[in-house]
Amino acid sequence: MSRLTAWLAPKTVVRAHCDLPCGVYDPEQARIEAESTYKIIEKMGGNADPAFTTRAIHIKEERADLVKHHLDVLWHDYFKPEHLDKVPNLHELFWNATKQVSKVKASTDLADAQKLLEMIDEIDAAWKATGGPEKTRVAGRPG
């Protein structure tokens, strides 16, 4: 580039932003993080050491945030308006599940974590009912 063109060239780049999603979705991601919160609550019950409890609470918050993130991605990016025909209560499922995550954050009751797992399983059923496994995962994993 000559000095003139270098001088003329813009210094700032702007984007016309489009998403390029990878298109891989699976409620399993949310389920695994939710299982972590379950196990942490279980372990907290058997250990009264304050240092352990502090760490456990911190990690439970972190895992719970990841559950929310994975649920949000499914809700916003995987599910489409046409899926409402198959799963009419879709929005309710997600609203309740993400609210349940907040509950698990504040709770040390295993039943709350268990309920969250069940709610994620309902979302998993919705994902399967809308063809999620075939449409979003890469085929060819060993069974």
Partner: protein, 115 residues
């Protein structure tokens, strides 16, 4: 934003704009939440009513509705997801406005006012 703006275009921006320019103008602004510099077309100005979700939304005194030119189907055909614009992040307040794009000075074959 094809065909109005193509990747690699060199553009002049009027940074003196303090209010949302008229509908149809292309603006540079900071994307809400990401703060990234982006270009979109003004589709609604303060006080306008714009379609949103299943209803309508009235824009506040400082807000604009900014949309991509690409129809969703074209973006999908090109391998992109839905355009990220006001349909995603809602109305954009005027403090995020950087300027109005008005002129393209390169490539020379496309020299001229940006519409």
């Amino acid at each position: 934003m094809l065909p109005a703006i193509a990747p690699g275009d060199w553009l002049l921006v009027d940074p003196t704009t303090r209010r949302w320019p008229r509908r149809g103008s292309i603006v540079v602004f900071r994307e809400p939440s990401t703060e990234e510099l982006a270009v979109k077309r003004v589709a609604g100005r303060p006080g306008d009513t714009v379609p949103f979700a299943d209803g309508f939304l009235r824009l506040a005194d400082d807000e604009a509705w900014l949309l991509s030119d690409a129809p969703e189907a074209d973006a999908a055909a090109a391998g992109y997801g839905p355009p990220v614009d006001s349909r995603r992040y809602g109305p954009v307040p005027v403090e995020l406005l950087v300027g109005r794009i008005w002129f393209r000075y390169a490539p020379l074959s496309r020299l001229g006012l940006v519409r």
